[in-house]
Symmetry: D2
Subunit: 312 residues, 4 copies
């Protein structure tokens, strides 16, 4: 499990300290606040703080003095209109802060989203925990033969066992040597008093990329939706997608109307190029269109047929 | 006064709706929440929402599970250390949202700060209020003769009276014609049923730059400090500085430790160039240094003497 | 015309100074460099500098050491793939810098695009030219009766004439008073030696929003495409759309392959929501779908029928 | 050495293809273009493209039509004024693009600078080279006993030898197992035809953090100066500082006036807090000030004495 007893106590202490506020407050998200949603073998996502709610999006779009003066179905209609027409600024008026524990190779993908605030645990300053990600057997996929950045069939038998052994052994050995080079025990005392110990900022380079790190990550709802549209997608790597999926649950609790609009107009939406649209129009007019003569490449044709739920 | 009775009622209604939350909460800022702090003749700043407090900065810097586990003076020391050494990311973990009413020419300066979220009242969509900024007599300054972007002595007598008349008349006439071209009364009905009325997105171009607009503006504490360090500065134009000063009061209520560090290490700080530092070192060693032979230009020498509180 | 003779001379002087470079160079854009493309009655767009070309996008996507090692049709395929799948970072590797002269109310829309670099002519520091935008008669549209931020029919006869008179008179009078308050002639001497002149940072507030300003504006190709997708769109206000259209011509000269992909996959593309896609699938299966029972609101139904080129 | 023969050939081919351009061009930077400046044991920095020069900063500050119409010493004075008063936008008008090869743990520090464009070599898609950073013996420092994120004395004798052995062995073994799990030889053929090979996006997690990656990194001059002020600083980790130092050389060749101003007003400058300034003023007035009674903490006192070049 991801948390120590002391961490659990800290979280329960934080949850015990209730205050009164005039700010927009969302009970469904308060119920999740501070709690760790487990992800992968040692990771988690937990909501640390939030600002705004569905009403804050509406209020910003109208630049109004009060809140909720309109009927609920007008507010919903406005939110759906804003999402459909890609009006981004009202969604930027909501903000959320997460505490995330994640493997370093996942952190390296995640950090590519630049419009966010990050404070990462510093291995220049502190010592990382002895925890590394080892994939579950059903995630041990072969390289895809058709997609250079995708997965194929799940490895089986001896090959799978060998991979798991290598991942576990190399991570464990590298971590052990990291501690040896640091020459520090958990209390900070020298393991071997005859040695000085390597600087932390150097020793960390011996860790493997499946070691876990953690950070505080804060962003606004518009940029969070952008992150989720890319990372909760079927083409995202499994190890980051599971984080995005845990975050989707927190967003649904937080801003249910925005979430529903996001699901309908972004997650479940498709974009047709000018040429694809022309093909659909011809098909709707009753014409039998084939890839040859469609104006689409084979790859685009296959993508269109997939969107339309047809055999290609 | 800036607010209508209806707006005051909306604000009081918002202040009546208290909720319970587990989030970090700051009573001193709750006391200000939603209330308009008047600025200029028709403008205001009011805090609409906030996220985080002094403790959130400390927590992010430590990437810790709980809050406030250290002694208060250790937290203060950490905040001061972070500010002194320009560690920006922990301050990004706090967020604040303002509703601001301001003249358009001030809005044009303000919007140059790009790392913020903005929703402005749309004059493409709605009709602006009949309100324009007219400077108070003591702000009616002449062009500075030494600084091309500064103010000199206050205008007096006939010249001052003429300027005030022109500003008032031109703004009033332009606004009157704006409404005439729109051909809409306050209820949205045609003033002259025989006319169609010009599109709002066109009619607005007849307004003068001292007309008031309003927006929601949200930013994090680091970027707010950057804004305030530039706009609460003596070199900032008076008409934006008064907004910055009202915001300083809200920041002091919100994050008193961060505010004190900002005051000491940013607002009240000076930066010495390599050459200026060399001059100070020579002076401290007892040498009588003059501008000639100092390695500083006359302008830099004057700036240094001002910093040191000396006659130049 | 937008430029004075002196400005024309400056531009020709710049065009005369050719240099040799190892950087990627695009002759078709060099032919346009520095030249003003006229927009509206006094505005223009001109390309001042650029970095990169179609090949730079490909090179960045491959993180390769050299350029153009692959066949041209592979490069084109890669660019189209990147655009279709919204890979944004390779397009960020190209950069362009414009000098733009534009009415202030257009500048206020434009500046909402935050991911760009801007240096605007400062009316705190300098005096603005006596130039204001007056719409051509065919652009003098009434407010739309169906779209609160759109235009309806073109105004005719007396109403049109009255609007043009008001716009011209108010802008001219406000500008005249601006100069009177400044009390400066073109050479910088006092018009009336008995007066001090109002500070420039104050006097500017008397200008109308159709006064022209100018700026240097620099952005990368990804963010430029985002700007163009919103501002070259049929829903954009005419007065900014004409700038976007002039810029489209410069992009086509600069990066023809990226431009073609942008046109096919962004400008000419449509996005179908999950519910819209379901409707199209039912129609393709031969079902006669009506708005009732479609799962779409009337507004969404109308939008879908427009996309598909059908009567709604 | 960092480059293969084929890469060297690509670079020489790029340097052979000269073109004519009207853009601002800097011969001193052209001389460096594409060439790799070696950094660490296998890394490098090389300039791939640039936009603008010293004159472009001046031109943007003046929003002028032409270039270089003023005397050179006026341009220098303006650049120094802009730097001294932290006017950032004119420096944003210059842009530079680097190709960098660097250890992953350095890349993780570097990427924290968000206002830049990045395309990194993808280990989801491709196979990383067999190259890892092993510190030179004189860089093998112990943990500092006074600064939790700094280095102390250089390790000697058996401890140093053991650290070097561990770093080399663990990196080599992890890389070997990475290739074994991938089951691909350099030509892309299966090493063991009986195995499928693990997906690249999974196998990479076995690499150590001193493995080398590479990217294209592009930023504007203002943000580059910010990066360099932090990373060329004495408090930066040696392994990133050496990259910053190589980049300083390219900036000096590119924009010598901006570079000189940056050196004087940023790199060599110090910032005094309000309290520190008061101490300096008292000292200049002849008072003997000690830490007690100075209003400074011991740590701040020590920092001030260091700035002033005095014994603390």
């Amino acid at each position: 499990m991801a948390l120590t007893e002391e961490q659990d106590r800290d979280i329960e202490a934080a949850r015990a300290a209730e205050a009164r506020t005039l700010r927009p407050t969302v009970p469904a998200l308060e119920a999740l606040l501070f709690r760790a949603l487990p992800v992968l073998d040692h990771g988690f996502v937990r909501v640390i703080d939030y600002m705004g709610d569905d009403g804050a999006v509406v209020q910003a779009a109208r630049v109004s003095y009060g809140r909720g003066t309109k009927a609920a179905n007008e507010d919903r209609g406005l939110i759906r209109y804003l999402m459909r027409h890609r009006h981004s600024t009202p969604f930027e008026m909501c903000e959320i802060k997460y505490h995330v524990k994640l493997p370093i190779f996942v952190a390296r993908q995640w950090i590519r989203h630049r419009t966010a605030n990050v404070n990462e645990y510093s291995a220049r300053y502190s010592i990382l925990d002895r925890e590394f990600y080892i994939p579950a057997p059903e995630q041990l996929a072969a390289q895809s033969s058709v997609n250079r950045q995708g997965r194929g069939a799940v490895l089986q038998g001896a090959e799978a066992a060998r991979v798991l052994d290598l991942l576990r052994e190399d991570a464990t050995r590298s971590y052990g040597h990291y501690i040896e080079m640091l020459n520090e025990d958990e209390g900070g005392a020298a393991i071997d008093p005859a040695r000085q110990g390597l600087a932390r900022e150097l020793a960390r380079m011996n860790l493997t990329l499946n070691a876990y790190t953690q950070w505080y990550w804060k962003t606004d709802l518009h940029n969070l939706f952008h992150f989720l549209s890319l990372r909760a997608d079927a083409h995202a790597q499994h190890e980051i997608r599971v984080y995005a999926e845990a975050m989707l649950r927190t967003v649904e609790a937080w801003v249910p109307e925005c979430f529903a609009a996001f699901r309908d107009y972004r997650l479940g939406a498709v974009t047709l190029s000018a040429q694809m649209l022309a093909v659909v129009q011809r098909m709707l007019a009753g014409e039998a269109v084939a890839q040859r003569g469609s104006g689409l490449s084979q790859r685009e044709w296959r993508e269109l047929m997939e969107m339309l739920g047809r055999q290609s």
